[in-house]
């Protein structure tokens, strides 16, 4: 009986001892044009010691993985680490990547019309299964699309 109670207590105590909660990140709206203001909420992993802000990356139309806000590489979104919410024009969103020669470069994220994936993670440098990895999808419409002309 006592063992069962202790077991139940450990079951519930276990996960919360490492991570107490997650303030969910967001990026939106879901449909954007170049002039749309993207609103980004970085999100937070709440732990007993200190809270960890989630890094952000994206995949461009050409399939390249680019960093938008990452302490280990670069941060190219203004106020990402200092504000609970930040805004940037979709057409001004650039990502940081390493070219084939190993040199860093910048690339606009939104180029062609279509779906783009954004990744929030506590560690962008490991496999998704080894970290907190939250995917958000945004559809980009080019200026000549009727969605952007309305």
């Amino acid at each position: 009986m006592y063992l069962a109670i202790i077991g139940v207590m450990l079951y519930f105590a276990g996960p919360t001892s490492m991570t107490e909660g997650l303030q969910s990140p967001s990026i939106g709206p879901e449909k954007v044009c170049a002039d749309t203001l993207l609103v980004i909420t970085p999100g937070l992993v709440i732990t007993p010691g200190s809270d960890i802000s989630l890094s952000l990356a994206a995949r461009t139309f050409g399939g390249r993985f680019v960093y938008l806000a990452d302490q280990l590489t670069a941060t190219v979104i203004p106020y990402y680490w200092t504000h609970s919410q930040t805004e940037i024009r979709a057409g001004d969103l650039f990502g940081w990547f390493y070219a084939d020669d190993g040199k860093p470069a910048l690339l606009p994220v939104f180029t062609e019309g279509g779906g783009y994936e954004f990744y929030f993670s506590d560690n962008l440098h490991t496999e998704p299964e080894n970290s907190i990895f939250i995917t958000r999808r945004i559809t980009y419409f080019t200026d000549d699309d009727s969605f952007c002309q309305s």
Binding site: A74, T75, P78, W81, T82, D92, F94
Partner: protein, 168 residues
């Protein structure tokens, strides 16, 4: 008369409080400056003379989260770390000291086409590293520190650079 006395007391205590507050703020500020000066732990960039193949170390131990930019001898003003723009020095905000090969130090700025990045060290000369609470105001309006580093290409003091950066 008693009313006047009460007012006098009130005035005296308020002015004492104000004086004490000013003294406390002044003491804190003096303490901060004393800490930075006395402990010689202001922000720094070393070495003062650097070759292309050497490592550069950037130290910001003040706890003030100072932003960092650099002015190059060929007239570029590049942002290295500023929350309001971009941070392109790995671990700058999380570590008190960052070391990396000089050739890997990248700067960020905008031109008419949008944001761009480029290596900081491209030509020989004096590079001015500027640490400040606010990079967008005059140095006299912010806490700021300047450190100068001489970059040498093709100097006899330096190992030959196999990457073949043009000698300027």
């Amino acid at each position: 008369m008693p009313k006047l006395k009460a007012k006098q007391i009130e005035f005296t205590s308020v002015s004492m409080l104000t004086t004490k507050s000013v003294q406390a703020v002044a003491a804190s500020f003096a303490g901060l400056l004393a800490f930075i000066n006395a402990s010689n732990e202001g922000p720094d960039v070393v070495p003062e003379r650097i070759c292309p193949l050497e490592e550069i170390s950037i130290t910001e131990p003040t706890g003030l989260n100072l932003s960092l930019a650099v002015r190059t001898p060929d007239g570029f003003h590049l942002i290295l770390a500023d929350h309001g723009f971009a941070t392109v020095v790995p671990n700058y905000w999380s570590a008190h000291s960052v070391s990396l090969p000089a050739r890997d130090l990248i700067g960020f700025d905008y031109n008419e086409d949008g944001p761009y990045i480029r290596p900081v060290f491209e030509v020989s000369g004096i590079y001015e590293f500027y640490f400040a609470e606010n990079l967008e105001t005059e140095p006299e309006n912010t806490i700021s520190f300047t450190r100068r580093v001489e970059f040498m290409i093709g100097s006899p003091e330096c190992e030959p650079d196999p990457s073949g950066i043009e000698k300027k």
